[in-house]
Symmetry: C2
Subunit: 119 residues, 2 copies
């Protein structure tokens, strides 16, 4: 499917809207609903991951390797970072990134909910 291809080609952490706009010219029958449906499906299958680093939009990433994300509070750009990044300044291929915050989110199941899943 074109949407998965797009995500694997473009490591730009696009939003659903960006994917739609980039794909629409070459697939004029594409609907935004299809983009949302497909992204949800791909995420449920574990083929892609969703990124909530931005308050407004959900972003998607086809890179399943363990890595962290950095968002510039000025321009909104999102970069990949290695997991072992320190809390201080960090250099990457794009220059120096000044890190001011770090958030770590775990997801999974609490004990009672895990029981329920087993059935």
């Amino acid at each position: 499917m074109a949407i998965l291809d797009y995500l694997l080609m473009n490591a730009t952490h696009p939003t659903a809207d960006t994917i739609f706009n980039d794909l629409y010219p070459s697939i004029p029958t594409l609907s935004k609903t299809t983009v949302y449906n497909t992204l949800k499906l791909l995420e449920e299958q574990g083929v892609i991951i969703s990124i909530n680093i931005d308050e407004k939009n959900v972003r998607y990433d086809g890179d399943l390797s363990d890595h962290a994300h950095f968002k510039c509070k000025g321009c909104g750009c999102i970069y990949d970072l290695p997991l072992e990044t320190r809390e201080n300044i960090h250099v990457s291929g794009v220059g120096t990134l000044i890190i001011t915050e770090c958030q770590i989110y775990y997801k999974g199941y609490c004990a009672p909910c895990y029981e329920m899943i087993q059935n």
Copy 2:
């Protein structure tokens, strides 16, 4: 301000809506806009932090100490975790939490945006 007090008293990572509903009975003149405005202000001042672990709503936390967050994908409950939590099973005061995903988000400024801030 009552909203800050609420956040310091209740370590429940509430949403703006929850804060409004809990505070409204005792402050009948309270408006939801005020809650949003105040939360934004408190966050800009660095007095509270916002949590984007939930796709739907932004949550707020008055605990500024370094800690991670866990969200149960079943019931949606959010727990605090120590930073050094491993990727595997983890026990807390509430029982065993099964961790299936971990996301690490850094925020700050890229080089060009950091220049711009200096002015």
